[in-house]
């Protein structure tokens, strides 16, 4: 049977992709950020940890979806997904290869569990999806595993509540565990942490909030899942709302987790950056 073996979090900011592309990932500014990923890069490259499939939770940044179609939760069921042209040409990274059998299986299970998923059979994936792949897998000719992109609307209000995201994660875990093939599946929650990209309050960073969020995500998701949007907005900045996506990852790991690794860094361009590696615990 398939099982959820681990959950990771990562920032997905385009500046990380740009640093790789321009060869500046080792300079004084970006070096500490990229070194913060080294532990997970080594861990995930080991056979026993390498996922067969990643369910990659991210938000589309006005790339695959415009103002005409705004799905709250979508799931990529295609054979493959091309990197989107976001205004400066597509990121020069491999196509993202999907796992349509598992993706459709998860989609069906989620719909039966009353999550009204939007099924995507054709979709380009933007930096939200490809930057975390680059950060954890480096620059291979092909990504080392299959990826099921799962975009969440966190742009047009209201986005889903933290509680809804957590429950979606729980349902993803059940769906994965009912898939007959023997697969190691990881769920990644991307985006965050505190940041605001707009208005006179742009540049907001809240380390206290972020560290408390990480602590609660690990040890007390039952409380964290009920935090209302207004608290994210006030404390983590208007774009800090992306953190609800981490709750999807957390819900998919079960009630208790073991923390394998944690990295927190300020600043990565406009954002605070958080990397976590968690495993389900008995």
């Amino acid at each position: 049977m398939a099982r959820v073996t681990a959950g990771l979090t990562s920032s997905h900011i385009p500046a990380l992709g740009a640093a790789i592309q321009t060869g500046t990932s080792n300079n004084d500014y970006w070096g500490p950020v990229f070194r913060g990923y080294d532990w997970v890069k080594e861990w995930i490259a080991k056979d026993e940890n390498k996922p067969d499939v990643v369910v990659l939770v991210y938000n589309d940044h006005a790339s695959a979806f415009d103002m005409n179609i705004i799905p709250t939760f979508a799931i990529g069921c295609a054979e493959s997904f091309k990197p989107a042209d976001e205004g400066w040409g597509p990121r020069p990274v491999p196509d993202v290869v999907g796992h349509p059998d598992l993706a459709w299986h998860i989609a069906q299970c989620l719909i039966l569990e009353e999550f009204d998923m939007t099924i995507m059979n054709q979709m380009d994936v933007d930096h939200g999806c490809t930057v975390p792949l680059s950060m954890f897998f480096g620059e291979p000719d092909a990504w080392p595993c299959k990826v099921i992109p799962l975009p969440v609307n966190v742009v047009t209000y209201p986005p889903p509540s933290g509680n809804r995201c957590y429950k979606l994660g729980q349902a993803i875990k059940r769906a994965v565990e009912s898939f007959p093939e023997d697969l190691k599946v990881q769920v990644w929650g991307t985006g965050g942490m505190s940041h605001q990209l707009q208005g006179p309050r742009a540049g907001l960073i809240n380390k206290d909030f972020d560290l408390k969020f990480i602590k609660q995500l690990i040890n007390d998701p039952e409380t964290l899942r009920h935090m209302p949007h207004i608290e994210y907005l006030r404390d983590a900045g208007s774009e800090g709302i992306e953190l609800v996506m981490w709750l999807i990852m957390r819900g998919a790991l079960g009630p208790k987790v073991e923390e394998l690794y944690r990295f927190y860094h300020i600043p990565a361009s406009n954002t605070a950056l958080g990397v976590l590696a968690l495993e389900p615990a008995a």
Binding site: H61, M67, G87, G89, Y157, Q198, R201, A202, K207, P267
Partner: protein
């Protein structure tokens, strides 16, 4: 047992206006900025970027945008674009077309120079103290 919860959408939305220097992308803003955001989306295509760069005003006139939105685009006034219902992720197609970064665009909305903004970020960013709530002053 019912899962129904009493949600008051009016108070949910009203709270957003209490955050200083922040315009949450609500349905109202999404409706107002529909064409501005769709214009920005169009810049994902290389041929549209070329046409826009060749004659910005003529390209903008192809869109059913308010004059205020067009002037905000021409002036690259990102606060004014957001007032017209623009969303920063859509507007990113515009500053990407200009070869500018998110940090440039975000900084331009704060009234700081790009250097001052970058320096603030290096020092740990803007503190949330005093800018969480207008009414509460915390």
């Amino acid at each position: 047992m019912s899962d129904h919860k009493d949600i008051d959408v009016h108070s949910y939305l009203a709270e957003f206006d209490d955050i200083p220097g922040t315009r949450v992308f609500t349905a109202k803003r999404a409706r107002k900025g529909y064409w501005l955001n769709q214009f920005a989306m169009s810049l994902m295509k290389a041929e549209n970027r070329e046409r826009f760069k060749a004659d910005e005003r003529a390209y903008l006139d192809e869109w059913d945008m308010t004059e205020a939105a067009k002037l905000a685009v021409l002036a690259r006034d990102y606060n004014a674009m957001i007032d017209e219902g623009g969303n920063v992720y859509f507007l990113s197609k515009l500053f990407s077309t200009d070869g500018k970064s998110f940090q440039f665009a975000a900084g331009s909305m704060t009234g700081m120079t790009q250097e001052e903004y970058a320096e603030m970020m290096l020092k740990g960013g803007r503190s949330p103290d005093g800018v969480r709530s207008i009414k509460g002053g915390y």
